[in-house]
Amino acid sequence: MKFVDEFRSVELVRGIVEKLRHSDLLSIRLMEFCGGHTHAILKFGIRQLVPSSVEMLSGPGCPVCVTSSSDVDLSVSLALDNDLILTTFGDMIRVPGSRGSLQQAKAEGADIRIVYSVIDALQIARDNPGKDVVFLGIGFETTVPTVAATVIAADKEGITNFKVLSLHKLCPPIMKEVLDAGEVRLNGIIGPGHVSAVIGSAPYEFIPRYYGMGCVVSGFEPVDILQTIAMLVDQVVENKPDVDVSYRRVVRREGNVRAQEVMNTVFQPADADWRGIGIVKDSGLRIRDEFGQFNALTYYKVRLDDQSEIKGCICGDILRGVKVPTDCRLFGKTCTPEHPVGPCMVSSEGSCAAYYVYGA
């Protein structure tokens, strides 16, 4: 496939790895903030390719994994206690909460449907005018504009039975939160490619300015990721932390301005609850009052008390880069992709699932 195969070139991979081997670097610790990168790094065996001086950690970048237990419970309650159709991306349905997963709710009779796109959810609303159709909005800036565009379309069309439960999250605020917490010492950040296709690379400029480390926005093919690592290594060796982009075919400094406008028309920043981290100010999005009729949260007035995390699951620590999946006693024993105990084993972007499938 064009724009894929070229960036899987064995010669280029070899060349960059060779270059890395000969760099003057003593040691470097990098964190990726995108579940897509976690998946790709394990799938392509990047950790094994790079010299041992390069240590790679995963941050809170898997949208399913970062959803808090109480937000999972909220979704389950919404589906079980109301006469509605809940639509969701596939990954979310298997995430366990304290009242069970959406999959279990479905088995108990709740009408829950998996969709590939939010457009499909709107179509279900069109086809079922007598029923409310709620779309479970999870995901980062990559996905948010697609939801916003669909809300605008529903508004124009006068479809009133379509609602969105916005559990969306924002990337730059959580990067700041992790850096402020200072639990892991980092030398550079692998910036999320598809989030940045929307927001651009400019929002990361606070990282070199205030934290003295670089951020290189990366694509998802092996050549992209290795090039990103090489760029971050150069920055460390030369002591010149900066924001740069290795994924230039997709990411521009200003991002997709149109997508940002669409997103800002419908959503405004709000506090969000992150698994393992807690409430982070303005790190999520709520629907603006102008579009209040689409807001499932206020429409159903659902709210739950804080729920405790799943027993034995250390997902939260893994999301903060403090622990790795193999540190978990349940990893590969009671917790497997077939029978996930925690969310990090559910999504293919989750660290535990990626470790399990591709080996640590």
Binding site: F3, R14, G36, T143, P145, H194, V198, R249, V262
Partner: protein, 77 residues
Amino acid sequence: MPIIVGESMCLAIPAKIISVECDMAEADIGGVTRQVSLALTPEVEIGDYVLLHAGFALSVIDAEEAQETLKMLESLI
């Protein structure tokens, strides 16, 4: 369909635009045709490659930049 539900959620893949009608388009993904919304990328033209995410074209792929990146890498190694 090459996209498996439950596959990486942030996944976005290159697709070639083969026809455009208002803010919808048809895109070719390795031989499979799909409907794509252009609500976020109204500038798209037939023949462009876009990054496809959850039914939407998220951005237009810059073929020149791709070439430059590859050339730059080849010169380095």
